[in-house]
Symmetry: C2
Subunit: 182 residues, 2 copies
C-alpha cells in the first residue's frame, strides 16, 4: 500500500482493493481500462489499488491540484466540472461505475484538468503512479496491458477531441464566411 | 522484420534500423518518444524498426487509410495536412527530425487522422503494431518504456487539444453574448 495522498484526505480510506476484486470483476465489461482484462488479471491488479469512500458533494479530484493518482469509480455517480474563463463552474460530464478519472495527471504529473465531485455516496479504487511503476517492474505483462489500455483510451479521446475542435473551427469559419456574404 | 505494409509502397525500403542506430541516438534529445531512452535502449529498439526513404511530394501517411504502423522522421521535413469539410487540404503542421507520426492508428487501428507528405527527401524509421507487441513480450521493460512515453505524449496532446477547444468555445460564447448585447 502506498502513502495516502493529501488530496484524498476529504475521502475515507477503506482498505486495499483485494476485498473488492469481485466488484472489480463485475465492472470489466463496462470499464474501458479493464475491458480486455481476464478475471485473474483483475484480481492481480487489485493488489495495487486502494479503495476510498466519498460522501455526496466531496471533491474527489480538484482542478489545478497536483496529484499522481487515478481513480476508478466502483459505485455511485460523479460530476466532472471545469471553470470557464469567467471562473464559472461548467458541467462537463456525469459519469458512473467503471469510469476512470485523472489518468492524465497520474501519467504526466501536470495539474488536474477538471474537478470531479461525488453527487451520491461514491466508492472508488485509486491507483498511484508509484503503484503503476511497481506493476511494471513486478508484473511486466500486466503493466504493459494497463499502459496499452491507457494509450488506447487517450488515443480515442484525442481523436474525439480533435474532431470536435475541427468541427467547431469549421462551423466558425462557415459562420464568418456567411457573415461576410451578407 | 515485418512484412512491408502496402501503404508504404510509395516509399523505398532501405533496411532494418540497426544500421541507423547512430542517427537514432543523435535524435534522443529532440524526440519526445526517445527523450528518456538510454543509448543501449535505442540500440535495442532499432532491431524492431525498418527504415524507408521518401522522395519529395510522397504521401507517407494518407488521411482515412488503414495502417498499423507509426513513423519517426530521421531526416527531412514533412507537412501534416487534413481535409476540411469542403474537402480542401489544410496545412496543420510542418515537422522535422525526431517527430513521430501515426501513433494513434498504430495503437487503435482506426483510420489515419491526417495526411503526412514529404516536402524534402525524407528518411523515416517505421514501427509496426506487431513489432511493438513483440517488444512487449521479448523486452517487457523496453515495451513498458515505449508505452509509457506514448501515454505521456498522447496525454500532453490531449491536454493541448482540450485547452484549445475550451478556448475556442469560450471565445464563441463571448462573441455570441457580445452580439446579443448589441
Amino acid at each position: 500500500m502506498s502513502d495516502r495522498p493529501p488530496q484524498l484526505s476529504r475521502l475515507t480510506f477503506v482498505g486495499d482493493a483485494t476485498q473488492y476484486s469481485e466488484q472489480l470483476r463485475v465492472l470489466i465489461p463496462q470499464c474501458t481500462l479493464l475491458e480486455n482484462f481476464s478475471v485473474p488479471e483483475v484480481r492481480l491488479l487489485a493488489h495495487f489499488m486502494d479503495v476510498y469512500r466519498a460522501a455526496p458533494d466531496t471533491e474527489i479530484i480538484r482542478e489545478n491540484d497536483g496529484g499522481d493518482f487515478m481513480v476508478m469509480i466502483l459505485e455511485g455517480r460523479v460530476e466532472v466540472r471545469k471553470r470557464d474563463r469567467w471562473k464559472r463552474m461548467q458541467l462537463i460530464a456525469e459519469v458512473g461505475p467503471g469510469r476512470t478519472l485523472g489518468e492524465m495527471s497520474m501519467i504526466d504529473g501536470e495539474p488536474r484538468f477538471a474537478t470531479c465531485v461525488a453527487i451520491e455516496p461514491v466508492l472508488v479504487a485509486v491507483m498511484h503512479r508509484e503503484s503503476l511503476a511497481r506493476i511494471i517492474v513486478e508484473q511486466p505483462m500486466l503493466g504493459a496491458k494497463i499502459l496499452m489500455e491507457l494509450v488506447l483510451m487517450l488515443s480515442q479521446r484525442l481523436r474525439a477531441t480533435s474532431s470536435r475542435l475541427v468541427q467547431v473551427l469549421d462551423a466558425q469559419a462557415r459562420q464568418e464566411s456567411g457573415l461576410h456574404e451578407e
